[in-house]
Symmetry: C2
Subunit: 140 residues, 2 copies
DNA sequence: GTATATGCAAAGCATTTGCATTAAA
DNA sequence: TTTAATGCAAATGCTTTGCATATAC
């Protein structure tokens, strides 16, 4: 429950009411919040929370690898706390909805060594794009 | 050579000096230009070209599928005219350099049907992240 | 001649920054 | 007490927009 805050404390970060409120919102699977979403939700518990603090905290959480960011290619970036499973994303090109795709459902990707030519690979971001069931049914 | 302009004409677009200058710059492989890059290069041939026209034209070219956009997750988006081969990208997290990865060097990706749940898939964007040879050698 | 494309400058949006104040440890 | 975190507001960077003018067809 307090896992994220514990890890932050362990890394020397101070636990403030602001960080607690933000951490409380960044929990669960299929959660893909914009910075604005995080602010709005965390403000329910802590109305005086500022946007700048949300951005600062999100930046740190991403740097620590506790949260990952998703760039939809349109609109603000989204933050995903589900870093445990290294899943991929399905993004609707019409409404922007994001759904997770479990890695187990995707064949493993392998890159030929000669393509890497000295690169030190860290990870692969895989984003599937198309129309979600709702948008496929009701074309714009 | 004039292939892109021909296709634009065929779709009813007017061929202006501006579009010619922009099209001349959007040629080749391993080309990943920002809007600013496109403006600067096209202005060599047509100094009075405006930024707004570059953005408008790039937006149309993307909509027509003649150019694809790459979101690096940092900095401005890049435009890639090499839509013929549906390649993937290797992005250096330190200097931002982008290199193409030929699909032939990557194992084919397959998504289990039950993961798609009504989604109408259009494409998969695959971005590998890590350090390029230069940045791996000289850590920041 | 007519509709489309252009250029300019202003607006827009997401995000970052500077800095004085506050508070966690 | 000390150093890090916060809030505010201004600044930044990229991109889009409104609108009058110019121009491809």
């Amino acid at each position: 429950m307090e896992a994220l805050l514990d890890r932050l404390r362990a890394r020397g970060m101070r636990i403030t009411p602001q960080r607690r409120a933000i951490a409380d919102v960044l929990v669960g699977e299929h959660v893909h919040l914009s910075a604005e979403d995080v602010l709005a939700r965390a403000r329910v518990a802590l109305p005086e929370l500022s946007q700048a603090t949300v951005y600062a905290t999100l930046t740190e959480l991403v740097a620590l690898g506790e949260v990952c960011e998703i760039t939809t290619g349109d609109g603000p970036r989204r933050f995903d706390p589900n870093v445990g499973s290294s899943h991929h994303h399905l993004v609707c090109r019409s409404c922007g909805a994001i759904r997770d795709v479990e890695p187990s459902g995707v064949s493993r990707l392998h890159v030929a060594d000669d393509q890497l030519a000295g690169y030190q690979l860290e990870r692969a971001d895989i984003t599937f794009r198309g129309l979600c069931p709702d948008c496929a049914a009701a074309p714009s």
